[in-house]
């Protein structure tokens, strides 16, 4: 670009960009460099940093808690990226056919998403409570006392219980997918009906291919949320019982609290790298057929 003239407002432009550049440098560029650098050291934040190569990563992956955390993060990514997206897409497709009261339902389903995850977690803590909780009380009432559990205190039920209270609130993804579904031209469905296609066939062969890119976007977001999961687990189980619900975010937080910055940042770096790989894989794998379809047009 040699010889290109400097924009005559360059001073103004620089002035207008400066705050964003400074904040972005301070809160994105520098921290990312920091995480990857410190992940290769032994450091407690006070004494001198000691370079130890990939030892923190090797330690982490050899540690049973960390392995559990990685497994749980993948389960979370599945619970949100596959289960929740499927539920959200199903409801979106139902509402897109504009049944009676669909506008009200759309508004109502989104309601829990404006309440903070923390408050929702506290609400479910009350429901799952072994002695005073609504769930056990309800099971007792309908004569299923044998099904009662200390939901958050037993290894078999704790993780599903924490996941359920997040997966069931589909509002956010439902709204996004609904917007896509409603933009499919009505005439496509009319033509299919004339050809005798039933509801399933219409959704399978018209809606899903038409909203593919929105589904991929929603799924990418949901998987990212699953890998970053923290709040509900921190509040409801703090990783217990017996570390069965722990996640990478929690391990990072605990390592930080213990001033073990090397392992904390190695965990952070793992989170960033795993997230980037999975998201790239989803987009490549699921979007590839799009590209094929486009090239045929």
């Amino acid at each position: 670009m040699a010889g290109r003239k400097l924009n005559k407002h360059w001073k103004g432009i620089l002035l207008f960009l400066l705050p964003v550049i400074v904040l972005y440098g301070l809160f994105f560029v520098y921290p990312l460099g920091f995480v990857f650098t410190v992940s290769l050291t032994k450091w407690n934040g006070v004494s001198a940093m000691k370079f130890i190569g990939f030892k923190n990563f090797i330690d982490n992956f050899g540690n049973q808690n960390f392995q559990l955390a990685v497994r749980n993060n993948f389960l979370w990514a599945f619970a949100l990226g596959v289960v929740q997206i499927t539920l959200a897409a199903t409801v979106a497709m139902i509402l897109a056919r504009r049944p009676k009261g669909w506008r009200v339902l759309r508004t109502v389903y989104f309601l829990p998403n404006v309440i903070s995850k923390v408050a929702i977690a506290m609400l479910w803590l009350a429901i799952y409570n072994a002695e005073f909780g609504a769930l056990n009380a309800f099971l007792d009432m309908i004569g299923l006392s044998g099904w009662t559990h200390n939901w958050l205190g037993e290894i078999e039920t704790a993780l599903p219980a924490v996941m359920f209270q997040e997966v069931v609130y589909i509002g956010y993804f439902m709204i996004i997918i609904l917007a896509g579904t409603m933009s499919v031209p009505e005439s496509y469905y009319e033509a299919a009906q004339i050809d005798g296609a039933n509801v399933w066939q219409q959704e399978r062969y018209i809606t899903i291919p038409m909203i593919r890119s929105i589904l991929v976007t929603a799924m990418t977001l949901a998987v990212a949320f699953g890998l970053r999961h923290f709040e509900a687990t921190f509040l409801m189980t703090n990783g217990g019982p017996a570390n069965s619900t722990t996640v990478m975010g929690l391990i990072l937080y605990k390592a930080l609290a213990a001033l073990d910055y090397g392992h904390a940042n190695a965990t952070g770096a793992t989170l960033i790298i795993v997230g980037a790989i999975i998201i790239a894989a989803i987009r490549r794998f699921l979007s590839s057929r799009d590209a094929v379809a486009e090239s045929k047009q």
Binding site: F34, I115, A137, A264, G268
Partner: protein, 281 residues
């Protein structure tokens, strides 16, 4: 569907449809309604009649809730943090969005794409550096520490929204103002900014909701009531109320109500914002 009889598939589809819709309706309302009703009971009633209405409505629970939890202070802190981070974020991103959308300069696309790529960074992975930065500048356990952090975290999403909006404003409007003798800054403040109101409101809503609901960095960057926000305060209800469950439920109810109230008034705008964002992305 005139002229078509209902097949078995249609009947199954119809039943499944209503079962699904009703299930999510129950999951949305029943837990919250149960919590609110329970918050008016005595603890004994909660245990013996968990699903009945309270015999006597215990408004005292709410008095206790406010006294024990320090809710008023938490609210004030949350409002300060959310408002200031929103204003700070929207001011600086709208300036950058103006430069990016109305001018041509070197490294423009590289810079823009790099900042926008920030939405992909899992912010939770940056706990240690954020902690170090905020303690380093002396803002640990200060509201300003949270304000700056929240404003910064939301730069990419906010720039995406405001830049996307400003790009659609016709250049002709500005050309007229240049002829009238408007400077670079005046084009921003008098022409583009007023026309971008809707974009600014959408971005502002996002930043405000994020800041209002944020938990992880409120946990990491504060240690006392001085800078404790509502979401972090909720965490302490467990230890503050111990076994006084119904008063704790009252405190949770009080913490949830404002979000629901705001949603009742603004749901159309919030859903519209989400919908248009989805179609652009």
């Amino acid at each position: 569907m005139p002229g078509r009889e209902l097949t078995l598939t249609d009947i199954i589809a119809k039943t499944a449809k209503w079962l699904i819709l009703v299930f999510f309706l129950i999951m949305t309302f029943v837990p919250i309604v149960w919590l609110i009703i329970s918050s008016f009971k005595t603890n004994l009633e909660l245990q013996t009649d968990p699903f009945s209405l309270p015999a006597v409505w215990q408004f005292q629970n709410y008095v206790d809730a406010i006294q024990v939890s320090g809710l008023p202070r938490l609210f004030v802190n949350s409002i300060i943090v959310s408002s200031l981070s929103t204003v700070l974020n929207v001011i600086i991103t709208s300036m950058a969005a103006f430069a990016f959308s109305r001018e041509k300069f070197r490294f423009q696309n590289t810079m823009l794409n790099m900042i926008l790529a920030g939405v992909l960074v899992p912010i939770i992975a940056l706990m240690v550096p954020y902690f170090k930065i905020i303690t380093g500048v002396g803002l640990y356990d200060r509201l300003w520490g949270l304000v700056i952090t929240y404003a910064a975290i939301n730069l990419p999403i906010s720039l995406f929204l405001i830049y996307g909006f400003m790009r659609t404003i016709p250049k002709e409007l500005e050309e007229a103002s240049i002829i009238d003798g408007c400077s670079f800054q005046q084009r921003f403040s008098r022409v583009v900014l007023p026309l971008s109101k809707l974009g600014l409101v959408t971005a502002g809503t996002f930043v405000f909701l994020f800041s209002w609901n944020e938990f992880i960095y409120a946990l990491l960057l504060t240690s006392s009531m001085r800078a404790r926000t509502l979401q972090l305060g909720i965490r302490f209800f467990k230890s503050q109320f111990i076994t006084n469950y119904t008063s704790m439920y009252a405190a949770i109810t009080l913490a949830i109500i404002p979000s629901i109230a705001v949603y009742i008034f603004f749901h159309e705008r919030i859903i519209k914002g989400l919908t248009s964002g989805a179609l652009k992305g």
